[in-house]
């Protein structure tokens, strides 16, 4: 019997080592797998490459990971925000490397990795600083930049429900990068509000098929998240 459920966040991240590349789901705090990140911080590993849309908000999640000094490099689209002070400080101190990627290229490059493509020609960023020194090509009268897949050793994502085969469904805009990151990492670890029995998810509504998920850990949280004050 295959059972991908793991008893704790600590056990779920126990093989993430120094220097690993780790995709982390979430757009701001929505969909951010805080408990998995806390477990990763507790493990004490460092020199991580993090792929996330942002570079931390406030004091939790990716922000806490950066604050703890564990992030060598971050690949993201929107680091600077009103509450990205931990990233800002680390960046200004030269302690963290930044690869800035337009958000849609970030999504497309992650999806390309999951789908086994070697590279894609995307129109986004053509003629801008973010395409400097990149290969370009005019196709059918439009200009494109060649971009390469972004893959990772691990993906840490948050979903609403999962089952022991790793099937996942998400909740509202917390879905965001979860489904594509799950496809692009060698090992995908999902924290879910509830692990349901096999058959508890309608086969028509599964968003992430279990083939893309290696571990599922149940973290009891309220289904509806109150907004932070």
């Amino acid at each position: 019997m295959i059972d991908k459920s793991v008893e704790s966040a600590e056990a779920a991240v126990a093989d993430i080592g120094d220097g690993a590349s780790v995709m982390i789901g979430g757009f701001g705090t929505a969909g951010m797998p805080d408990q998995l990140i806390d477990a990763l911080i507790a493990r004490g590993v460092g020199d991580l490459t993090i792929i996330n849309n942002n570079a931390g908000n406030g004091e939790t999640g990716v922000a806490a990971l950066i604050k703890a000094g564990r992030v060598h490099k971050i690949i993201c689209s929107f680091p600077r925000q009103s509450d990205s002070h931990h990233f800002d400080a680390a960046y200004r101190a030269g302690q963290i490397e930044l690869e800035l990627v337009p958000q849609g290229n970030l999504a497309a490059r992650i999806q390309a990795a999951g789908a086994g493509l070697g590279a894609i020609f995307t129109p986004t960023g053509f003629g801008t600083l973010l395409a400097e020194s990149k290969e370009t090509r005019r196709i059918d009268g439009r200009d494109y930049v060649l971009e390469y897949p972004i893959r990772a050793d691990f993906a840490l994502i948050k979903a609403l429900k999962g089952d022991r085969w790793g099937n996942l469904v998400y909740r509202k805009t917390a879905r965001n990068f979860g489904p594509i990151m799950a496809m692009a990492a060698a090992t995908t670890i999902a924290q879910v509000s509830a692990i349901v029995p096999l058959g508890g998810l309608d086969p028509e509504v599964v968003v992430t098929p279990g083939i893309f998920v290696q571990r599922v850990v149940q973290i009891a949280t309220a289904a509806t998240q109150p907004m932070a004050a």
């Binding site: 929505a30 990233f87 200004r92 849609g104 992650i110 986004t124 805009t173 879905r175």
Partner: protein, 218 residues
Amino acid sequence: MNRMTRDQMAARVARDIPEGAYVNLGIGLPTKVADFLPVERDIFLQSENGLLGMGPAPAKGEEDAELINAGKQPVTLLTGGCFFHHADSFAMMRGGHLDICVLGAFQVSIHGDLANWHTGEPGAIPAVGGAMDLAIGAKQTFVMMDLLTKQGESKLVERCTYPLTGLGCVSRIYTDLGVIAVGPEGARVIELVDGLTIEELRRLTGVPLAFARQIETA
């Protein structure tokens, strides 16, 4: 002359959004356009973080941290709206499925080049988000901005000096002083606020400006 207020600018943009349009409103000033879309019109607001059919802000106490917009503010979902992942969301932009996006700007060139993501100043931490995807992806990109900086410099320029977001992507600029079409043929003024003359606008911007045969007064 009468400078338009931010609400007036938002109402003016809203007037140009037809029923049935799929629209993305950028962070900041463009978000305000939503308040002026007539409720009886079916207009589909897309938010890059994975929802279509975005509704207004929820009532106090009804906020849901997992139902937010691109600016990470709480929103609601209209009946008939839906959720999707980030690759599909940006396929909507890059694939040309959005009819209109409305963005803020630091500068726009008379040929429609846009600069709105980075001042390029030393020490500034850049952040681009979905701006580049939106700018080149939507069928029409509108910009909403004050025509002049606080220092009185024109944000409509012959050539952007700030780092670009996209080349030749903007078709129309809604400003506090009027509405201007931009593109391959250059800039053409469509509307002016009451009390502003063509000559005065030429002087304020310092760029070549053509004028629509019949200029409306905003």
